[in-house]
Structures are given as structure tokens and as C-alpha cells.
């Protein structure tokens, strides 16, 4: 795997062994170990819903969504040996921008209130949602273009973005800007997929896995388990969350919109990375840009498109965060960029570029959030949380490096 191509077990004669010893299996094992440990701890503390209950799993999946979406986009950026430090501040900036657009216009605010309620534009969430995504794509395309035009390190460009967006957020949301309750973004942040939709998703997953198996057979790469392992995992989580459970309200049963959006983003990016020309070009460019260029890959366009993707996902994450929090505040998203990078690194996305996949980043984000939520459920102060997360980050990565050396 030194040539910079992603691990693709379906082309390996010893595919099953590769799958079993792959990075993702190791991550999954780590996640399961963490979950079982917390399950034991929460049961011993007499928690009503222990760590592996539907309530708790649903909470972890929901709380991991925003960072998870960022981590998916960050994977593309890191594969290209770049880094994006601006996404955390962008959560605050794009969220504030959206809240401003949706806020009541000055003309509708009673005069007596003018001083104490920040005025907005009064646009509907249905307009604001796509608009913010477009703004994200445009801003990040410009960043990507600036990078390829000047050859500047993306580190510097996005460090600029980090400071600039925070500044803009402070200007727009110098005081908290609540969003109208009950609108699209509020519902996305707090609601759950209707149960029938959840069952339809389950059916779709199973059908897709079956089709993938049939399709794979026809193409002489009989790696049925490559399709079935993630599908079975996904399906069991869906079933687990959709079934009625003790202590779970009917209104909070099933899959949160936030989780669903994260899953859609992850699947779309994973498909792009694995099965499209762009995906192949992305890994080729990240592995060795010069070789890719000689092979006819337009490496500059690959960079700009990767940044544009990051922009779209950052915008999505900012709207998810806004809905989740119900209020835009200028301090939102602090350190979110580093959480996203940490999720990628734990997930095996190499900072040297050319290697790492979306599923790894998803697992990385889940591991980080399981630690946070689990420690909260055990009532541990956040000081210890940082230390424990640091230990996991460093040890998982160190183990991976040692294993790869051998």
C-alpha cells in the first residue's frame, strides 16, 4: 500500500484476512471495547439507561454528528496533505449568518425592543438552508483556488479563515441570536426521522448490500463481506434505534435528523472516494502529486473540488449545530476543527496524504464522542476528559504506526 492507493480489499486475493486485520476492524474493536467499559461503569453506577441502551446510543450518535460531518470533509483535505483550521470558527460564522438571515427584520420589531433584540432579515429557513450551503461552497472554492494559484500552505490560508470567521461571528452575533422555533433548521436540530422513513432506510440498505454482492460476483471480486459487514452494522443500529425501548419517548425514538444527515454525508463521500474518477484522482494526487500530474490528473481542480466539498459540509455542520443549540453565539465551535482532525487521525487518515477513508473518520468521530458522552454519563469533569481523549488519540495512532512498520 505504499503507492498511495486506498486500501481496497476487493482486489486483494487474501481479502478476508485484509478485512479482519484492517484499520477499520481495529477501530471498531476499540469502539466496542470503550462501549463495553462504559456500559459496565454506567450499570455499576445504577444508571437508568446504561451506555449501550438505545437512549444512550442515540445520544452519542446525535452528539457526534456535527464533528462527524466535519471529519468527513476533513478526510478529503488531509488526503491531499492539506489541513483546514477554519471549520471551527466557520461553525460560529455561518451559524450566526443563518440566524441573522432568519431573524425578525427591524420593521417587525416593536420600537421599544429595538435596542435589546438584534434585527435580522426575516427570511425563511427553506431559503437560508441552501443559501448557506452555497456560501460555504463559494468561500471554500476561493480558498482552494487561492491555494492552487499561489502554492501557499493551506494551513496559512485556513488559519486566516479561522481568525477572520471568528471576527465575523463576533460582529454578527455580538449578542446571542435565537432562531425561530419550529422552523426547518430548528426541527433538523432537535427532531427524529419518522419511523416509517427509518424502516424504508433499513430496506434500502439491505437491498443495496444485496445488489452490491450480486454486482461484485459478476465482476470476479467475490468480496461479499466487504458490502455486507458495514451494511449489517448499519442495519442493526437502525433496528436497535427504531424498536420501542424502555425510557425512550415515542417522540425521540429512532434516528435523529442530525444522525441521518451525517450518515448521508458520510455515504456520499465514501462513494465518491471509492467509486468515482474524482475519488481516484484525489488519492493519486494526495499520494504523489507529481506522478498524478504526469498521469494526466488535473491536480489543481482536484484540490479546489476537495475544498468546495469541505465548504458544503462545513455549512451543513453549521446549520446542524445551529438547530441543535437553538441559538447562534459567537463562541460556538471552538476547537471543533481540532476535534475533526483528531477524528480523522484516529480513523487512520494519514497526514502525509494519499491514505485514509471516510469510514475511518466516522469511526474516529464515534470513538471521540463515546469518550466524551461516556465520561459525562459517569459524571467526570472535563479536565479528565481531555487527558483521556489525548491518551486514546496518541495510543491508537502509535499502535497503528507500529503495526504498519512490521
Amino acid at each position: 500500500m505504499t503507492d498511495g492507493t486506498p486500501i481496497d480489499p476487493s482486489h486483494d486475493p487474501h481479502a478476508l484476512r485484509v478485512v479482519v486485520t484492517s484499520r477499520n476492524t481495529m477501530l471498531l474493536a476499540t469502539l466496542v471495547a470503550i462501549a463495553i467499559a462504559f456500559h459496565g461503569l454506567t450499570v455499576s453506577r445504577g444508571a437508568l439507561n446504561p451506555f449501550l441502551s438505545a437512549r444512550s446510543v442515540s445520544t452519542v450518535l446525535t452528539q457526534a454528528s456535527v464533528i462527524g460531518v466535519l471529519a468527513c470533509g476533513m478526510t478529503f483535505i488531509i488526503v491531499l496533505t492539506h489541513i483546514d483550521l477554519s471549520v471551527g470558527s466557520a461553525l460560529a460564522f455561518l451559524g450566526a449568518l443563518a440566524a441573522w438571515m432568519m431573524g425578525k427584520p427591524a420593521s417587525q420589531i416593536p420600537e421599544a425592543l429595538a435596542g435589546s433584540v438584534p434585527a435580522g432579515l426575516g427570511w425563511s429557513a427553506g431559503v437560508v438552508f441552501p443559501l448557506i450551503v452555497i456560501i460555504g461552497v463559494v468561500l471554500w472554492s476561493l480558498k482552494g483556488a487561492l491555494q492552487v494559484a499561489t502554492g501557499m500552505p493551506a494551513f496559512i490560508i485556513t488559519l486566516g479563515g479561522m481568525m477572520g470567521y471568528r471576527g465575523l461571528a463576533l460582529l454578527i452575533a455580538s449578542r446571542e441570536r435565537p432562531i425561530p422555533t419550529g422552523n426547518l433548521i430548528d426541527r433538523v436540530g432537535t427532531g427524529y426521522l419518522p419511523l416509517p422513513v427509518g424502516w424504508a432506510v433499513l430496506a434500502a440498505v439491505l437491498i443495496c448490500a444485496t445488489l452490491a454482492t450480486v454486482f461484485a460476483r459478476r465482476h470476479h471480486s467475490p468480496a461479499w463481506y466487504v458490502a455486507w459487514m458495514p451494511a449489517a452494522l448499519l442495519a442493526s443500529v437502525v433496528v436497535f434505534l427504531q424498536l420501542p425501548h424502555k425510557g425512550v419517548l415515542p417522540s425521540s425514538r429512532g434516528i435523529a435528523y442530525l444522525t441521518a444527515l451525517w450518515a448521508v454525508a458520510a455515504l456520499a463521500l465514501s462513494y465518491t472516494a471509492r467509486s468515482t474518477v474524482f475519488g481516484r484522482n484525489l488519492y493519486a494526487t494526495g499520494g504523489n502529486a507529481e506522478a498524478a500530474m504526469l498521469a494526466g490528473v488535473n491536480v489543481k481542480r482536484v484540490s479546489v473540488v476537495a475544498f468546495a466539498t469541505m465548504g458544503a459540509l462545513t455549512a451543513l455542520a453549521s446549520l446542524m449545530y445551529l438547530g441543535q443549540q437553538g441559538t447562534a453565539e459567537s463562541g460556538a465551535g471552538q476547537l471543533a476543527e481540532l476535534d475533526a482532525i483528531a477524528a480523522c487521525v484516529i480513523g487512520g487518515v494519514s497526514l502525509q496524504g494519499g491514505r485514509g477513508n471516510i469510514s475511518g473518520a466516522v469511526l474516529g468521530a464515534l470513538i471521540m464522542q463515546s469518550l466524551t458522552s461516556g465520561l459525562y454519563q459517569c459524571n467526570v469533569e472535563s479536565g479528565y476528559q481531555f487527558i483521556i481523549k489525548a491518551a486514546v488519540l496518541v495510543s491508537v495512532t502509535a499502535l497503528d504506526h507500529l503495526l504498519r512498520k512490521n
Partner: protein
């Protein structure tokens, strides 16, 4: 061809970035920036210059503090230079140094960190500039005077209100930022009211935690995970301010428990007042900021003129006994909120009922 378009995009980016920067420079000079730095104190003019360094303006109340303070100081003929550190303790010390370099006569600090701000006080002392700690005490430094509300009393009011409404039940304690000295005082006050009932066996504390930087997001996550572990089996969440209460109520709402669990608060933020009227938040503690900010402006001017200031008590900050002026807070709930706040001119009826 494709090379061309990326290059043009790049040039366009640089161009627009420059244009925005230039436009920004042309439009306004930062209100906080001084015109001419002087290293010697007071030459020609008699105008008193007050340097103000606030932790952040994120929480609504601080903007009111600033505005009332500056207005009152203006009435007394003093000029204010204001800087906000946006919640960054290091930045705050840098800003204090900047202010001290501008020939201010007195430094007013709302510290982000009770201990880190000691550095700024030391720098001020080296130049012989008096320091007023505004609303939050600075620890381990020679602060000249401390103005605040009786913060332990604030916590006690929260505790008393909650045990009054729910003398038997399960409580969760959600403190504020662990590096804010006041957060500890609020907790101490809350426990004054709650502990006797815990000892009696009527109240069970199911857990406690602290929300870093008073972050509503942290508060929400803590509450979400609390509700995972205890389900509906919780009666009271003791939140120390309105921002964290907002995060808690967001988590309660998701489980259909908003309005069913008692949640305390503090600061009488507009959103919190609306929540109290809607019944999702139980109470808030109102600290008449007008009184505090007005008094602080008067005291600051007196300090600048080296006049004597009357303190009501002394608080030890680990190094010295700091002369302190502590004002009394007011407990607000659905019953008295509108009357008290409108009578004080803090909000209009329209603002609250909107």
C-alpha cells in the same frame, strides 16, 4: 484552460480580500483604539481616562454593564477606553497592557480568569494605576476595590427557591466555568440552602459537573447525558446562570421534560425571562446592573482622583483583604418578573411578552 480558471479565481480572491480589508479600514477606526499613546500620566487635559477590560460581551448582560458604566462616567466628565477579550485570558492581559500604555488613570477589569488577571493588576501597580475588579474578584493580587453583588447570596437565592418548590427529590448540580471564582461562590451559596435537606435525607444529589467557559453547548451535552443515565427521574437541575440554563432546557425539550424539571438561572437575560414566562425555566436571579455599573463608574472616578472610597466589607483574595462593595441581588420568577424588571426600566413589557 483549467489552469487559467484556477489562477483567475485565486487572483479574484486576493483582490476581494484586499478590497474588503481596505473598505473595513476606511469605514471605521476601532472605537477602542486610542489616538495618541502617552507614557506619562496626565499632562495638559484634566479629563480622567478609564481603561475597561471585559472578559467578553457574549452574554447579553455585559453589554448593558458597559453601556451604563460609560454613560455614568461620561456624566462625571471621564472618558472610557473599552476592550473586550472575547473570553481569552491571555488576550485580556495583553489588552490591559495596551490600556496601561495609553495613560489611563484607573483600570476596570472583568477578569476572564480570576487568577490569570493578577498579572494585569501587577502591571498596573508597577505604574501606580489603581485597579477596580468589576463583578468578579481577582485572586492573588493587590486589587484596590471590588464591586459586585453578593455572589454567595446569589447561589443561596437559587438554592432557596428550588428547595422551596421541591423540598424532596433528586437534584443535579451544574456549575459554571471552573476557572471563574464566582462559579465556586454560587455553588457554595446553593449548597447552603440544599445541604441541610441532603443531610436530612430528603434531597439526593444525583451528580454534579461544571460547564467550561459557561458554555451553553457544554451545559446541553452534560444535561443530555444526565437524562440518559437517569431518564425522567430528576426533579431539579441547579444551573448557575441563564446561558447554561438555556442549554439544559434545550436538552429537556428534546425529551419532553421542559417545564417538568425545575431549572434555576441568573442574570435575567431576555431569552431566560421569556422562558420563565413560558414556564420552562423556574427562576433567575436579577442583579440590578444599573446600580452596579453606576456605582462602579463613580468609584472608578474617585480612585482616579485618589479620593477615599467607602467599602462595605473586605474579602480575602489569597494575598490581601480587598475592600469590597457588595450589592443585594433579587430573586425573580413568573410571579414578580415583569413587575420588577419593567419598574427598573431593564426591559419593557413588549420586550418580555414578544
Amino acid at each position: 484552460m483549467t489552469r487559467q480558471w484556477t489562477r483567475w479565481l485565486g487572483i479574484a480572491t486576493i483582490g476581494s480580500a484586499l478590497a474588503v480589508t481596505l473598505a473595513g479600514c476606511g469605514n471605521r477606526t476601532n472605537e477602542g483604539t486610542p489616538t495618541q499613546p502617552t507614557d506619562t500620566r496626565k499632562e495638559a487635559s484634566d479629563t480622567i481616562k478609564i481603561g475597561m477590560s471585559f472578559d467578553s460581551l457574549l452574554v447579553e448582560r455585559w453589554q448593558k454593564d458597559r453601556d451604563i458604566f460609560i454613560a455614568e462616567a461620561g456624566k462625571l466628565g471621564a472618558e472610557c477606553v473599552f476592550l473586550s477579550a472575547d473570553g481569552d485570558a491571555r488576550k485580556q492581559n495583553e489588552q490591559c497592557d495596551v490600556l496601561l500604555g495609553q495613560g489611563i488613570d484607573v483600570l476596570v477589569i472583568v477578569p476572564k480568569s480570576a487568577t490569570a488577571a493578577a498579572r494585569a493588576v501587577q502591571s498596573a501597580k508597577k505604574q501606580g494605576i489603581p485597579v477596580l475588579a468589576y463583578d468578579r474578584l481577582i485572586l492573588g493580587a493587590e486589587v484596590d476595590i471590588y464591586l459586585s453583588f453578593d455572589n454567595e447570596r446569589v447561589g443561596q437565592m437559587q438554592g432557596e427557591y428550588l428547595v422551596g418548590k421541591c423540598p424532596k427529590g433528586k437534584y443535579f448540580l451544574l456549575g459554571g466555568s471552573p476557572d471563574d471564582n464566582n462559579a465556586k461562590l454560587f455553588r457554595a451559596g446553593q449548597m447552603k440552602a440544599i445541604q441541610p435537606l441532603v443531610d436530612k435525607g430528603d434531597i439526593t444529589i444525583v451528580g454534579d459537573n461544571w460547564a467550561d467557559a459557561w458554555s451553553p453547548k457544554k451545559a446541553r451535552e452534560i444535561a443530555e447525558n444526565l437524562l440518559v443515565t437517569v431518564g425522567k427521574d430528576i426533579d431539579v437541575i441547579v444551573a448557575s446562570n441563564d446561558g447554561t440554563a438555556g442549554g439544559v432546557i434545550q436538552a429537556l425539550k428534546a425529551q419532553g421534560l421542559d417545564g417538568k424539571v425545575l431549572v434555576s438561572g441568573q442574570d435575567a437575560d431576555l431569552q431566560a425571562c421569556k422562558r420563565i414566562l413560558a414556564g420552562t425555566q423556574s427562576m433567575t436571579v436579577y442583579k440590578p446592573l444599573k446600580e452596579l455599573a453606576t456605582e462602579a463608574a463613580r468609584v472608578a472616578v474617585k480612585l482616579a482622583k485618589s479620593e477615599e472610597v467607602k467599602a462595605t466589607s473586605k474579602l480575602n483574595n489569597g494575598l490581601v483583604d480587598v475592600p469590597s462593595v457588595l450589592l443585594a441581588p433579587v430573586s425573580l420568577d413568573k410571579e414578580n418578573l415583569v413587575d420588577v424588571l419593567t419598574a427598573d426600566g431593564y426591559y419593557t413589557v413588549d420586550a418580555l411578552k414578544d
